[in-house]
């Protein structure tokens, strides 16, 4: 029973990470109808930057927030410089650019930081909270951080003028221009936020899986599955999808399939959702007009 509860708690912890990444994917998809294949690599690169700061002696939480800020700027830059020129290009060209971005960032990380695995510190103590055997301190801390992140984002989008403008720009660019919203910059902001979210996810995951350039590829696959499950254009769905995928992954991994086929399961989940119900549980069903 104890292990079962622990599996659930661990699942919620990883679920939070998947939820955050899935949210980032949904944000970009909603505003541009592009799937950001490079999301994981940007998160990984940001985590390396955090590692650099910490190695240089910067205290953890200062490095944490600086990294988020730097990741935000990187995201904005990437959108303005790399993505904007091909915004209106055919889908294949856009996908190729995203894949190019993905492998460029991945190899730059390998080039600058090397391929040897590094350890990344967790800001949370190593002993379990309250002596509990249900959850580790890092897991609890990770849950808190991702929860804080999600709440902050929710408040931002719901109650600020800028958040409203971003939502409007994603839904209806033409009408947004007619009320004076600079749609191009809203897209760039969306990318910045997505990069920042990725940085948080990367920094929470790295203490567990260790820092190396290929750290995020499996995580990203799960985030894709989560986003699709919840509905690729539904932020709330992404969060729920993330939680479900996280818990399921842990339970199935512990009791049913073992850890060896995790990626295959993610792949099957992705394909199944795409084929049976591409709009996910909470997304809108789009009818294509001839």
């Amino acid at each position: 029973m104890e292990t079962f509860i622990h599996q659930i708690m661990a699942g919620i912890a990883t679920g939070g990470i998947y939820a955050a990444l899935a949210l980032a994917l949904v944000m970009i998809y909603q505003s541009t109808h592009h799937i950001n294949f490079a999301q994981g690599e940007i998160a990984m690169f940001a985590t390396y930057l955090a590692w650099l700061l910490i190695q240089a002696g910067v205290p953890y939480w200062l490095a944490f927030f600086c990294t988020i800020a730097i990741a935000f700027l990187l995201g904005v830059m990437i959108q303005r410089l790399v993505i904007r020129p091909v915004e209106k290009a055919p889908v294949l060209n856009v996908v190729v650019v995203f894949i190019g971005l993905m492998i460029t960032i991945n190899s730059l990380a390998g080039w600058f930081f090397g391929f040897t695995i590094k350890s990344f510190p967790s800001p949370f103590p190593s002993h379990p909270p309250f002596g509990s055997s249900y959850v580790s301190s890092h897991e609890l801390g990770s849950i808190s951080v991702t929860l804080a992140l999600l709440i902050t984002l929710f408040l931002f989008f719901r109650y600020t003028s800028l958040g409203l403008a971003m939502r409007a720009a994603a839904q209806n660019p033409e009408s947004s221009r007619l009320v004076g919203i600079r749609v191009g910059w809203m897209l760039a902001l969306g990318w910045g936020l997505a990069a920042g979210i990725g940085a948080v996810a990367g920094m929470m995951v790295a203490p567990v899986v260790f820092l190396d350039p290929n750290m995020m590829s499996g995580v990203l696959l799960y985030a894709f599955a989560a986003a699709l499950l919840g509905g690729i254009d539904s932020p709330g769905g992404a969060v729920i999808g993330g939680m479900v995928v996280g818990v399921l992954e842990n339970l199935l991994g512990a009791y049913v399939i073992g850890t060896e086929l995790k990626l295959t399961v993610a792949m099957l989940l992705i394909i199944t959702v795409l084929v049976i119900r591409p709009s996910g549980f909470f997304g809108k069903v789009i009818v294509s007009r001839v």
Binding site: S161, A168, Q171, N172, S175, R177, V179, G180, I181, V183
Partner: protein
């Protein structure tokens, strides 16, 4: 009365197709001007040209400032509020969110909130539905919402594209009455594109007639109302 909008030698294209040919129009400040014409005459395109949503050559001056080389979102900041055909409602957002987006470029929170209340007095139905998703509003309510959203800008110039489209006559009359009141009390200059010529000529002071992208007649609303050719073709006489 000074000229607020001055359009000189305006040509507009959709890709390789030219749709407006050497248009010259002047809108006086504080008045209501209507642009009439059959389907496809280029009325909507003219409004879109002012908002730079279509590629144009020629000069467009707003209060003496040249706006034809600006981006749409910057033209808004010069005080032009455009209610597009189809209304352009943000259907997934609430009524109130739609209205607040209208005032996105303004800074004074107090004034924005005051204007929001003013819109609710003009359009009580919007107040009832302020937390409802805008896509669930009826056609007439969405039209009111679109106009109110535009007014939230406190615009100098209001561009209205076919507000009567698809609406029941009673609702249309209500909307036109409100527009007349707004024009008088808030001194908003209105450029109105309408297919319903009778209604438009009743409301407006001045009128222009477009045919196949060219200006063929202009004058006071009364003159056009009494013109026999107009009466035959557009007023069903």
């Amino acid at each position: 009365m000074s000229i607020l909008l001055d359009i000189q030698h305006l040509n507009a294209n959709y890709g390789a197709t030219q749709v407006l040919f050497d248009l010259n129009l002047q809108i006086h400040e504080g008045g209501i001007t209507t642009l009439l014409g059959a389907n496809g005459a280029g009325k909507t395109t003219t409004l879109r040209a002012v908002s730079q949503m279509v590629s144009t050559t020629g000069t467009i001056l707003l209060g003496g400032i040249q706006i034809d080389s600006l981006a749409t979102e910057d033209i808004v900041r010069h005080g032009v509020a455009h209610v597009p055909d189809g209304r352009g409602t943000f259907t997934a957002l609430t009524t109130e969110e739609n209205l607040r987006l209208g005032s996105y470029t303004r800074t004074s929170k107090a004034e924005i909130n005051a204007d929001l209340e003013k819109m609710f007095t003009y359009f009580p139905r919007l107040k009832e539905r302020k937390d409802q998703q805008a896509g669930t509003l009826s056609g007439g309510e969405q039209q009111m919402l679109a106009i109110a959203r535009a007014l939230m800008l406190r615009p100098r110039l209001l561009l209205l594209d076919e507000p009567s489209f698809g609406l029941a006559p009673l609702i249309v009359r209500e909307i036109f009455q409100i527009m007349s009141a707004i024009n008088q009390s808030d001194r908003v200059t209105i450029l109105l594109v309408e297919q319903n010529a009778a209604l438009a000529l009743d409301l407006a002071d001045h009128a222009y007639l477009l045919e196949a992208g060219r200006l063929v007649m202009s004058g006071s609303a009364q003159e056009l109302q009494n013109d026999p050719a107009i009466r035959r073709s557009y007023l069903g006489d």
